[in-house]
Subunit: 683 residues, 2 copies
């Protein structure tokens, strides 16, 4: 019987899905008939357990619902519209493995949100918000039943605030966005070669000499932790040692493996300055430092980094070499392991569990550490087999600017982890999206995170079989808009940057171009030119959005048209309009580009966009007329488009993709070998 | 000799003007050759007078410049790029008539900003910011000399926070925007029938029973005054008496002219509840209240409203009638004058000068009051002839949603004031843009204020002969974008509202429609349907921007094309693209509108937009081919377009204007009487 019910749920969920814009998709949905109207009489009643935490969350929820609908909600209705039945409190700070499940029963007469914990209720409120939409009669949520719980208990976002400083409001609005898609760990990468970003009262030269004045006070840290906790988000600090420590050594050169002096790095890369793992004073320092930070950050997990340790200084320092010999450490790898074990003891002494990047998985490490894998799924599977818990970040590096679909297909239990047994698989706690900020500023970070991070959030929350990419994109488009006007600025900041690039004057033609280019990721940008912290990130590549929605939607229209050219007149019209606009765009844009130092580099892209538009228009004519395209014309255009695919100005011309798709459709529908066709002018 | 110099300046200014996007236009500009580069080495030196006020302003200026250019500015250059030479401090609080002049000398080697006061330096810094733009080589400001000073000393913006509550961040960002266009008075309309919005410690029932909990604490008031003062903006409070006082009487019914009880009004209109001007206890109350507020607000001016006093309650109350008889007051107008004189004495007792709306100009009023005219330029001129100072708001009511050009042509010394002699004209202190918020929420207020308020700011600051409307619009487009990404959200909030209207899904077709409709102003909206505070302002009319930039730019392109059809191929292409997009738009938009309660009302507009696009396409064909359009076809289309001009869904279809312009051009170029033309299908 239980099996039958489950089957019905699943079938209904699959049928129902296309009408809901939920992200992450809930574990189980069944749609009912009807809907619950949301109007000015909307009010919430809390039954069962209540506390300040829940009440504040409800207040925020109603305020946002009011903004979302535009309806002033003064309450005062005769009866509650939404009842929250919460069975107990959440701990003072959110903890790993807390019950985050909730159940949402919505009927035309009212809604009931039930949860075991306040955190579960928070997750359910986010679902309710996402369900609220205008329909033909009113604002409403559909009548339905949702039973929902996360697949993984660790659903994180890691943010590097060292390479580029991120002010408090940036962090706050991104934590709002995380909570909106049910992410629950904010991994705060607080130190690196380019900056030490938190006030230390015990070792004040850390922030005084290591931050250029850009650091969070301890009061701000506490405020952010509280802010996150109110939203059911844990804050895990990372202090990356023993490498990535130039900023520490600026103030405390005596901790280094080389004589110094040291200074904050202004460039990007992996640098030599490294803590000396052979001297007691380093461990005494770390003992006091970890003690201070362990008291500041309530979360039981403490990230010590441990990645990309260059051993140049270790090899160069005779005292270190001597130490290794004496201790029987046969490689710098073993020395690193020695260091990690001692750090582990300090972390444990201060009541925390240690996390590190996959390099810290060395022979003999205690089994209570957590491995964060950035190098591959294999290392995570290996760790699990050895009994270590792990979280996946490989495949979730958002700074590489891959499409959402790329991240979406990476499963913490996929790849090498597929072959884990149940006990081993249970050690995979979840994953973390990562944002390294070499090419990301406070102005652009939102657009580098969102909406793509939401696809990862879904992978980590939703059942493993929720994998339909088209459905993901449809819902992503919706949640992206919703996130933008509730806080993060990935969409609204875009137009701002274009306005600025254009020097303030109206430049719709610049938007046309920017809408169809995609910025290169970190690897390609660092190859493209020499960057440092002082190079402004204020060009087209920085304004452009990682994944062109315009191109994606056009691609979908082309697919529909090609599948049935006779029927989709509307699609044909849409494609024609886009191609006409592109075709005419360079004439309008050229004078703007020529007069602007930041935009001059975009001239070849603009010319190519117009060429691509013209090719697309001609291809559409062939497709619609049914007249076969001349083979040599096709070949010429393919060649042109391939040349256009080469990145320039650190962006790719994504507009090429749909035009190529049109040509491919023509090829499939047959061609003719008419020589004259090749010389036909494109208009 | 002085005359000659002035002439040269003026000539150069006229020539130079098209290359600068300054708003308000400075009194005098002369362009030099060359430019001053703005890069990461940018730094400011203060010579002469310095104080915290100026230093904070410079810090804010550099932060904004860094955002504006995207360049991280750490200073550290070898020499200052901008030197500020300030001759003296400004008073603790900005005062009327302070010297706001400044001089800006920019050469390729550096810039010098000289000013008599810190406030003058602030104005100059805003000019410097507006001058900064990307050019073909770098970011730079042009080499030039500016001598600038305001034409009027009172350049205000009045904001009603009673009809709709405006949270602190809304006020702060709008004060930033005011300062950016050199406005210097924030007139805070703090009480009205619908809400009493400031905390009173003396009479706490005012805010407790009169505000629904939405009021500014005295700490917040002090904070806002300080915030404004830092930006050279005065804050003048208005407490509107004796009418418009329902919210006062909710807590203190004993002050009323009728028995009560009273409650906060939730609807819009003019209401009867009025203070009783015949009882001493009312004056005792006002004495204490004005004393409290006079201490809270440092500005020497105190606005007592005084407009739209209904005398129904006065006429109905026998005790009041008896009082009038006894005192020899022969009309309720005389009773109102009696009240105003006593209030004037109280205001003066607490060290303030009284301002009131033009109704307070009654026989026998002391000459030290200031008249704010909302009813016409005549009353201001009359007041000046009688020796009263005045400020103009007639013609500056932004809530009527007139185009910027409408407000721009209203001059405080124009109309009836033209015939004033010099001494009388000097009594006209300036003007104030007004925003009444019956149909404006915290979400839409920015778009109802900006960019149009900047045109009024220019009228009040710039020389009287700066009147070129095309130049104004060109510069307004630029300053509008600049204002948006420095704080106010009139542009970025627009897309948010459209996203929400569309229920979150991508709906470019909705944007196409919204871009070419214009919302109706207060008079027409109140006629359209019955509104109250509880009716959400979340429809197309609320999202749409008061003046369609798309339509304006298209109109300009049509003008150029029509002037010379053979030459402007680019314009023809632009017009064709727009008309094609409109023509195809309803097919794409219709399904969205039909499924959405908020948008269903827009269906006829969407249909008409497509019709208008088709007409425009056909008209363009005639125009380009040189073939005369059939007279009866022209007549039919004119009729169609005229029908489309009728507002629906509380918006006007502004797209009709450029299509009409095309038809008019066709009419002028001659027609033919070919009957068959009339039945030609539009595509």
């Amino acid at each position: 019987m239980r099996l039958l019910v489950a089957t019905i749920w699943l079938v209904m969920a699959l049928h129902a899905e296309p009408t809901l814009s939920l992200m992450p998709a809930p574990a189980r949905v069944s749609l009912d008939k009807g809907k619950l109207t949301i109007d000015a009489s909307f009010q919430v009643r809390i039954t069962g357990h209540t506390d300040r935490h829940l009440q504040d969350a409800v207040t925020r929820f109603v305020v946002r619902l009011s903004r979302q609908t535009g309806i002033p909600m003064a309450g005062g209705g005769a009866r509650p519209v939404l009842t929250i039945d919460c069975r107990g409190a959440s701990p003072a700070w959110p903890v790993l493995g807390e019950d985050e499940s909730y159940r949402l029963d919505i009927a035309s007469t009212g809604a009931l949100l039930s949860a075991a914990t306040v955190t579960g209720a928070l997750r359910g409120l986010e679902t309710f918000s996402q369900l609220t939409a205008p329909d033909a009669d009113s604002f409403s949520v559909p009548a339905l039943h949702i039973e929902d719980h996360p697949r993984f208990s660790w659903r994180g976002l890691s943010l590097d605030v060292s390479r580029h400083w991120m002010p408090m409001p940036v962090l706050e609005r991104n934590i709002d966005a995380m909570a909106a898609v049910k992410m629950n760990v904010f991994h705060w990468h607080l130190s690196d070669d380019q900056g030490f970003r938190v006030e230390s009262k015990v070792f004040p030269k850390l922030h005084q000499l290591g931050s250029d004045g850009k650091f969070y006070t301890q009061a701000e840290v506490r405020r952010l932790i509280a802010y996150a906790a109110e939203r059911g988000v844990r804050v895990v600090p990372e202090f990356d040692i023993p490498g990535h420590t130039s900023s520490w050594l600026a103030g405390y050169p005596e901790l280094a493996s080389a004589p110094g002096p040291f200074q904050i790095e202004r460039k990007w890369g992996i640098f030599e300055p490294t803590l000396d793992p052979t001297r007691q004073e380093v461990y005494t320092f770390l003992d006091d430092f970890i003690g201070e930070m362990a008291a500041l950050f309530p979360d039981p997990y403490f990230h010590i980094g441990g990645d990309e340790v260059l051993d140049t200084e270790w090899k160069r320092n005779p005292a270190i070499q001597e130490f290794c010999k004496k201790k029987g450490l046969n490689s710098t790898g073993e020395l690193h392991a020695y260091f990690n074990k001692r750090v582990h003891a300090l972390v444990a002494k201060h009541g925390k569990q240690m996390i590190g990047w996959d390099e810290v998985l060395q022979p003999g490490m205690p089994n209570d550490i957590v491995i964060q894998s950035w190098r591959g799924q294999q290392s995570l599977a290996d760790a699990a087999r050895k009994g270590y818990r792990g979280i996946l970040s490989f495949g979730y590096y958002l700074d590489h600017l891959n499409p959402a679909s790329f991240h979406y297909q990476i499963d913490p239990l996929g790849g090498a982890a597929k072959r884990l047994n149940e006990r081993e698989a249970a050690l995979i706690l979840g994953g973390e999206a990562c944002m390294w900020t070499e090419y990301v500023t406070e102005e652009t970070v939102d657009s580098r995170l969102w909406p793509r991070a939401a696809a990862i959030a879904e992978r980590l929350w939703s059942p493993a079989n929720v994998t339909d990419v088209d459905s993901m994109y449809r819902r992503l488009a919706s949640v992206s808009r919703w996130l933008d006007w509730t806080g993060v600025e990935h969409r609204s900041g875009y137009q701002h940057m274009l306005d600025r690039l254009a020097g303030g004057s109206p430049a719709p033609a610049l938007r046309v171009l920017a809408d169809v280019v995609e910025p290169l990721g970190i690897d390609q940008r660092q190859a493209a030119r020499s960057y440092s912290r002082d190079i402004p990130l204020n060009r087209l590549v920085d304004a452009a959005q990682p994944e062109s929605e315009t191109v994606r939607l056009l691609g979908e229209a082309i697919n529909r048209l090609v599948a049935n050219p006779g029927v989709h007149r509307e699609e044909a019209e849409e494609i024609r309009l886009a191609m006409s606009q592109w075709s005419a765009n360079d004439r309008r844009l050229h004078p703007i580009l020529a007069a602007n130092v930041l935009l001059a580099e975009a001239s070849p892209l603009s010319e190519d966009l117009s060429k691509a538009g013209s090719i697309g228009l001609r291809a559409l004519q062939y497709l619609e007329s049914g007249e076969p395209a001349p083979e040599n014309w096709l070949q010429d255009q393919r060649l042109s488009l391939t040349q256009m695919e080469k990145p320039r100005a650190e962006v790719e011309l994504a507009a090429v993709r749909p035009v190529k798709a049109l040509l491919e459709a023509l090829s499939r529908s047959g061609t003719k070998s008419d020589q004259s066709g090749g010389s036909r002018p494109n208009h």
